[in-house]
């Protein structure tokens, strides 16, 4: 909110410079900056949403600055000279809706409309409001002064002989042509000010064109009212129309302002536009409950202050601060009985009151003490630690950690296969088509990352730990993408698989805890051209493979790409880091190499199983060190070479014994059509 430094200074009479004043307000009231300096300095005060109601005028701000500076400030009383003619003879009020809590009006006759005096125009301009004519300007000025929005109607433009101001809910599809020249179509939830024929203003938001003052205006009605904040907020939101008035009303301004601002406006208009103020004001109170007739008394024990704020504060100091802020109170032996000032609708509990005192003392100024708490170790969050460890490992494998957006675009969604689309979460109010859905997989983002980063590098190694989302749940996954511009024969696939296997191993997750299986019949077979699904028991927990060519083409990625994503919580449940020491072997190992040729359709897994089965007691380890397909081999065959490590736990193996084991293995291999080289 832009405020005029000179105006405030004029009201409160202080010597503080604009910069210093901004600092004081920031530290004791609300964040404030000096917007412009010079002859007419302007401050920008960012009121908290609890402060708007009672500090959005220069008078109320002067009162709050006074509290910060230790000066008491009283609002000046308007002085009004009324004629003998009675207001109520010319106008009546009819309040039909409880959204209008209080309505008051006055009539002025014989005013002269013209330009406002320079000083008034300057103040409006300083506060960001364009001057129009002395009547409109006066209403705006008094709003800036008091925080109470006001309106001026042209009396003679109100329809019918016996003039009545009606405050009611709009009829469905009722129309109003507002002061901004726009037509607004209303509904029953919105409140209007009307005459007997039609709406003449959007209550609390904007006046209507039909009753606007102009050069011919002679007689006017002044309106000062109190409207229900939530109704104004709703209407303002629905119509997309926020004004200085609606902003203030939304925050439920105090009742005390209504009558005060009405008189102040009458006084000012008479001063700058002449005319007679008719005798008496019309007023109707609809919502009596809103009047805080009953006195709010908050008891605060003396010992509470130090217990809650944390530093010793003297009774005298508490009382001084409370009086500066306009509280009234009764001192008792054990406690203080505090009544917040009437205009403060935001103070309800003792913490609010103590907070106000702390604010005036300056939270930054007060002493700080570390708490006297038990020394207690924090509880370890194992899942968190697990994820951070994965990050460290992947960094060690030479991967860069990335963070992508949680969002996918409309286009991204449309390109995904139908069974993926069905489970996606849609944002009701996306900021654009780019943020309309939540990602159900990392793949789409990864392909975009590859496309973008291929501009700077030929090789990409990225990983990400984050959430994917489906209608059922949100779940943490760890994903990665390896990509290179040059094609290779499945090198990247085995690199990625190696990373995953080693990572699992380092968490104590063993080969019998999970299996790699074919992608077929999983939802991923639509995304991937080839690859492996990772299962824990019967549950699919992840996938590793090459994206479909159509995806690569769609996201404009050339070259070889391998991606994986694995759900973290099922994996976490497998983690077994309790390791036991294995005694070092007492007897030496015997190593034999073996090469064989087998049909390509036989899986290496199968060969390994044959080894284990053939030599269950002595074969300790099998290490595949070469795979060859190509020249010098019969069509449809591959050559595999292994190191076989034999060892016995109770004696040194003799060559003869090992030969026997090898014999058994050869025999078993023949059963799967393997030829020994």
């Amino acid at each position: 909110m832009k405020v005029s430094y000179n105006w405030l200074k004029n009201l409160l009479k202080f010597n503080t410079t604009p910069k210093k004043l901004a600092d004081i307000l920031t530290m004791n009231f609300a964040e404030t900056i000096v917007k412009s300096t010079g002859k007419r300095p302007i401050l920008d005060v960012e009121l908290g949403s609890n402060q708007v109601a009672w500090a959005s005028g220069h008078l109320s701000l002067a009162r709050e600055i006074g509290a910060c500076l230790g000066k008491k400030f009283d609002f000046p009383q308007p002085i009004i000279k009324e004629t003998k003619a009675l207001t109520k003879n010319l106008l009546s009020l009819d309040i039909q809706t409880s959204n209008c809590r209080y309505y008051s009006a006055r009539i002025l006759q014989g005013i002269k409309i013209k330009e406002s005096p320079q000083w008034l125009k300057e103040r409006l301009i300083d506060c960001g409001i364009r001057p129009i004519n002395n009547l409109v300007d006066a209403a705006n000025y008094v709003m800036l002064e008091t925080g109470q929005p006001l309106h001026v109607f042209d009396f003679d433009k109100i329809n019918s002989e016996q003039k009545t101001i009606i405050v009611r809910q709009a009829k469905e599809k009722e129309k109003i042509n507002a002061l901004d020249g726009q037509d607004y179509i209303l509904n029953k939830e919105m409140m209007v000010i009307a005459d007997k024929k039609q709406p003449i203003a959007l209550a609390g938001i904007k006046g209507g064109q039909g009753t606007a003052v102009n050069k011919q205006t002679k007689n006017i009605i002044l309106e000062s009212a109190n409207f229900a904040g939530n109704n104004i907020r709703l209407t303002s939101k629905k119509l997309g129309l926020t004004t200085d008035a609606s902003w203030r009303f939304e925050h439920n301004i105090p009742f005390e302002l209504t009558a005060y601002a009405l008189d102040r406006l009458a006084e000012l208009i008479q001063k700058i536009a002449g005319g007679d103020i008719l005798k008496g004001k019309l007023e109707k109170i609809k919502d009596v409950s809103g009047w805080k007739e009953e006195k709010v008394e908050i008891p605060i024990k003396w010992e509470n202050w130090e217990k809650f704020l944390g530093w010793p504060i003297k009774k005298k100091q508490i009382i001084k601060n409370l009086s500066l802020l306009g509280f009234s109170f009764k001192e008792r032996k054990e406690y203080l009985l505090v009544t917040p000032p009437k205009f403060r609708n935001d103070l309800k509990i003792k913490e609010d009151v103590m907070g106000e005192v702390a604010r005036l003392e300056g939270i930054d100024e007060i002493v700080s003490f570390l708490p006297k708490e038990q020394l207690k170790l924090p509880v370890k969050n194992e899942f968190w630690i697990f994820r951070e460890k994965i990050k460290d490992w992947l960094q060690g494998y030479g991967l860069e950690e990335i963070y992508n957006y949680s969002f996918l675009s409309e286009k991204d969604k449309e390109f995904l296969p139908a069974q993926w689309q069905e489970k996606m979460i849609e944002i009701e109010n996306p900021t654009s088509a780019l943020t309309k859905y939540l990602r159900p997989t990392f793949l789409v983002n990864f392909l975009k990352n590859v496309n973008y980063n291929f501009r700077f590098t030929d090789e990409i190694r990225f990983f990400e730990i984050g959430k994917i989302y489906s209608l059922k749940e949100e779940s943490f996954v760890f994903g990665g993408v390896l990509a290179q511009k040059a094609q290779s024969s499945n090198q990247l696939f085995f690199q990625a698989k190696g990373i995953i296997e080693d990572l699992f191993h380092s968490f104590g997750i063993d080969r019998h805890d999970y299996i790699f299986k074919s992608l077929d019949k999983t939802r991923y077979s639509d995304l991937l051209k080839q690859g492996a699904a990772i299962y824990k028991g019967k549950d699919l927990i992840g996938v590793l493979g090459q994206p479909q060519d159509s995806f690569k083409k769609h996201y404009d990625c050339e070259g070889e790409i391998i991606y994986w994503e694995i759900e973290l919580s099922p994996l976490f449940n497998l983690v077994n880091e309790e390791r036991e020491f294995q005694p070092l072997p007492k007897y030496p190992a015997v190593i034999r190499d073996i090469s064989l040729i087998i049909p390509q359709n036989i899986l290496i897994d199968e060969v390994l199983r044959v080894f284990q089965k053939a030599s269950p007691s002595f074969l300790e380890e099998v290490d595949l060190f070469d795979v060859y397909v190509g020249k010098n081999l019969p069509q449809g065959n591959k050559s595999l070479s292994f190191h076989l490590v034999f060892r016995s736990s109770d004696h040194t193996l003799e060559n003869k014994e090992v030969d026997k084991e090898i014999e058994k293995i050869y025999k078993a291999l023949k059963s799967i059509k393997a030829k020994i080289r």
């Binding site: 809650f308 704020l309 609010d352 708490p371 109010n429």
Partner: protein, 340 residues
């Protein structure tokens, strides 16, 4: 110091420089961005045109002298190193670069989060996590922000499209980590101290300082006597720990419906000899937990008190690494990632 003295001092001290490292220190002191000479150049803009020209010429002359001193000294030192290596009779060419090692890099937000979390853990705070897709109740209502409350405007929300028309509770992308205050207290009795790091979302057009998604660390400490002064002490300690004592902290009043009183925490970087950068940056909203929340989770009346806060992680990362565009965090670019 006037320019003549500066020149004299620079000459004296370069004579004492023995090696490349020492020379670099000398360069930073006399020719660097924060050097007296640079600051002098910066201050020229405040002078009249004529005076500026006069002083500018003088300073330029000194800069030229100092730059020459630096280049000569550097050439000399490098020659010394080269000569000493050349003289060695070993077949091992120690000037050949070492084997290239390819370790990856952790994301700056991971690094900063670890720093912050480590500081809080030292103070006994446990890490708790919560859902990114939240209910309207936990994100707003349970925090004293009912639908018709004007304070809702402070959190621009991305809503989830309901699955069915008559869905009772609306779902949303959490706009802060604060929903975990109520979720945690529903299941745990004080005393406790927790932090909740996590991804949050706002309905926001992205630009260099605004993002649709961001990270926050929520904090909550509740006990029988946890007070406002304790909050100040803990947060001051932790901020100094994170920034290695190179910042000032300030606490000022603020408003959030789920605390009373509300506090905002700003920090300012302290750069030696540089007065120009006196901007305070908001990094944390906080306050004393509103008793309504204790009531809502069924705690005994008037027994507990404590503080809560929400710390913006990107802000801290941007200050620490001098990153000027928040969008760099979520648009992976190898040239950015490799720097950490």
């Amino acid at each position: 110091m006037n320019l003549e003295q500066l020149e004299q001092k620079a000459k004296e001290s370069i004579a004492l420089v023995q090696d490349i490292q020492g020379l670099e220190k000398w360069r930073i002191q006399y020719l660097g961005r924060k050097s007296a000479l640079s600051l002098f150049f910066n201050s020229l803009s405040k002078l009249s045109l004529q005076e500026r020209k006069k002083q500018g010429e003088k300073a330029n002359k000194i800069r030229k002298i100092l730059t020459n001193l630096y280049t000569n000294k550097k050439n000399g030192l490098e020659k010394d190193v080269f000569e000493s290596n050349k003289g060695s009779s070993s077949l091992l060419d120690i000037t050949q670069p070492g084997d290239k090692k390819t370790k990856g890099h952790l994301h700056p937000l991971t690094l900063i989060t670890r720093d912050i979390v480590a500081s809080f853990e030292k103070m006994g705070f446990s890490i708790i996590e919560g859902p990114e897709i939240e209910t309207e109740y936990y994100n707003f209502d349970a925090l004293n922000i009912p639908a018709d409350h004007p304070a809702r405007e402070m959190w621009d929300t991305l809503w989830i499209k309901p699955k069915t028309k008559n869905q009772k509770s609306k779902m949303l992308l959490r706009t802060h980590t604060s929903p975990m205050q109520v979720r945690y207290m529903e299941k745990n009795q004080p005393p406790f101290r927790i932090i909740v790091p996590g991804r949050c979302f706002r309905y926001e057009a992205t630009d260099a300082s605004h993002e649709i998604q961001f990270y926050q660390i929520e904090g909550l400490m509740v006990g029988e006597d946890i007070n406002l002064s304790n909050f100040k002490a803990i947060i001051s300690e932790i901020i100094k720990d994170i920034f290695k004592h190179k910042v000032s902290v300030r606490f000022r009043p603020s408003f959030f419906p789920f605390v009373s009183p509300g506090v905002e925490v700003d920090i300012k970087q302290e750069i030696k000899g540089d007065q120009s950068n006196d901007k305070w940056l908001e990094i944390m909203g906080a306050g004393m937990v509103h008793p309504d929340l204790f009531k809502r989770v069924g705690y005994e009346n008037n027994r507990w008190q404590g503080f809560a806060f929400g710390l913006g992680i990107e802000r801290v990362a941007m200050i620490k690494y001098k990153i000027n565009d928040i969008r760099l965090f979520f648009n992976p670019d190898i040239r950015f990632l490799e720097q950490f």
